[in-house]
Amino acid sequence: MALTGIEIYKLLPQTNCKDCDYPTCLAFAMKLAAKQAELSACPHVSEESKAQLAASSEPPVRLVTLSANGHEAKAGNEVVLFRHEKTFYNKPGLFVRVKDDMSADEIKTKVSPADAYNVVYVGIELEMDGLAVEAVSGDPNAFAAAIRVVREVSQRPLILISKDPAVMTEGLRAIDGEKPLIYAADQDNWEAMAELALQHETSLAVFEEDLDALAALTQKLKDKGVDDLVLDSGARSLNQLLATGTQIRRLALKENFRPLGFPIITFPGDADEPAMESVLAAQSIAKYAGFIVLDTFTPELIYPLLVLRENIYTDPQKPIQVQPGLYEINDPKPDDALLVTTNFSITYFSVANEVESAGQSAWLLVTDAEGMSVLTAWAAGKFDSERIAKDVKRFEVDDKVSNKQLVLPGHVAVLSGEVEEELPDWQVRVGPREAVDLPAFIKQVLTA
């Protein structure tokens, strides 16, 4: 359980030496409790206290990292049930599964595009995290061969799937030195799987169709020395996954229940109805999965999932910002008008969408308002005539827009006089307050 500031204070030297740069040990303890300081800032703390503090600060959901060839997929370290309470930290890894009864060509055809996939969303490049290889043939050599084929076309982290330790042994040999996730230990094979995980220093998935049995097994594996575990409760439907996912996350966070304090793996690819794969994956993103294994790779499925993951895992305290700059909507010409707004993503999208979907052309100057919406930025002094004028010059708007009509958001009509003073060559127009009214404004006021 996390310690309170006072409990932490008792473990500190209590000398108020200020070597940590805080005025007192108590102030430092409070910062530690709020996770705003690191214990390493105190050079005098005893080894015994260090151990106690480290144990108490162990994350309720353990961080598990898969790695291969410079790529990593991390899950865990989550501290809340709802994103608005703080934020979700480690985006669940999206993996595409192939099976060892597929031909080498079939495997490559599926893996290559998934590996190469790259899409840009609000300036962020999004990619797949890795591949899963499942042994369905039962033949250790076929499994190893399939893994080698995957490695010919992708260097991303792997999840190896087989409950047969002999098959898994061959599979691991094919990628010696990597840190895959091996799936899965159950009550029958756990000792042998634990040996493999220890020998290859991999993380290990644990499968039991009941939370009691699952917790009992993770305990046994921890006693054996396997620390990096991943949970599969056997849930495959939306209702089961939501129930067990919520229960596991709650037990870990609210009860500090260590045996289930691990990331969860889900298999949307197991859906009976193909259209449900995307829905299962979407739920997994919002409701607590750490690793998500898909059977289908198509851009039209993956793109929305990657965007959803980006949205859900955005820090609610730091809204997504759009890069300030001069944006073109529907190939504007020099005689089209210039709209001005802030770089809060929702503000930008509202404005850009309305104009774009109305089929109108315009220039859109997105100013650096530190990610705030128009009214908030104005109130905070981050959206004023100086900033607008500065960005008109910085983005060389004069060179591209000859129309010289600048449209201010209606909410900041009060700025129009000042903007005219700053930009004497421009005619300042006050636009509507809401983006939804922009197309009518452009049609009726600007082009009339």
Binding site: H84, A235, N239, M276, P299, E300, Y303, V436
Partner: protein, 324 residues
Amino acid sequence: MPIEIPKDSWAGEVRTVSFGATAENGGTRSKTITVGGEKTLPFLQFEVPMPHPPVIALEIKDRRPDDWSSLLLETWGDVVDDPGEWAKAAEEAGADLLQLTLSLTDNEGKPAKPDDAVAAVKKVLEASALPLIVMGPGQAEVDNELIVPIADATKGENLALGICEDKNYRTIVAAALANDHLVTSRAPMDVNLSKQLNILITDMGLPADRIIMDPTTGALGYGIEYGYSVMERLRLAALQGDAMTQLPMMVTVGTETWKTKEAKVGEDVPEAWGDWLERSINWETLTAVSLIESGADIVVLRHPESVRRVRLAIEDLMAVPEPA
């Protein structure tokens, strides 16, 4: 020792709201929609069973829409030229209820006339017996001008009427009050603004169980995280006992989704976006399911295939989980 599963028990619960009058209740609807009544977070059936499944509305218009994605127009075909035919087709596509969104202008671009709007609503009510939400075009004056005569002309049907916003709610609330209808209360993605509007509306004498709250949302990629978190927070507030948040929630997922470039545009977009139609349906479906799981009781969609998929998701979520 078996693990004790932590269960939340809440002081508050969401109100149960019904609309759509059957013959028994003086209307002509084939059924009544009942939503709300939740005593815990969505679908946590190991705590309390979900009393009513979320319902799916299909959005139709009073005339051929000017600004809808060509994918939607191809799917619906010629029925979009006639609100009655469209209503019938939407019922056949599996909707639980319909939302008729009125247009700002007529086919020739002239301002919409109240008589035409009333005629369109009547056509829809005759063609389909599903319960109905009627939304104005979204400009205060026009909304009032169109919705008031509709409220009068459909007395007894127990419709849900919108758009009530903080700057324009009095006229529509009064019309609903006088004609036994409900209203939808729309606030821009903000817990306190939603709450405040509900207070204003109930202050006019409309009982809270005649309000459906529309906290608005962005589509996937366009602010869904705000809608998602505002809905989670509204629902948590309701369960904690905050009376003016204890209302069922609706979201216009179709409107938001089909505004996005991803759904609207098929040409000159990045190859990494994939197949246009399947991408659009995923966009609408994933937006809807994510918001249902954060508390939506009514989702308004536009594409029939999204209706099918969201229905499958709701059926799965409503199943009481066996131990896995």
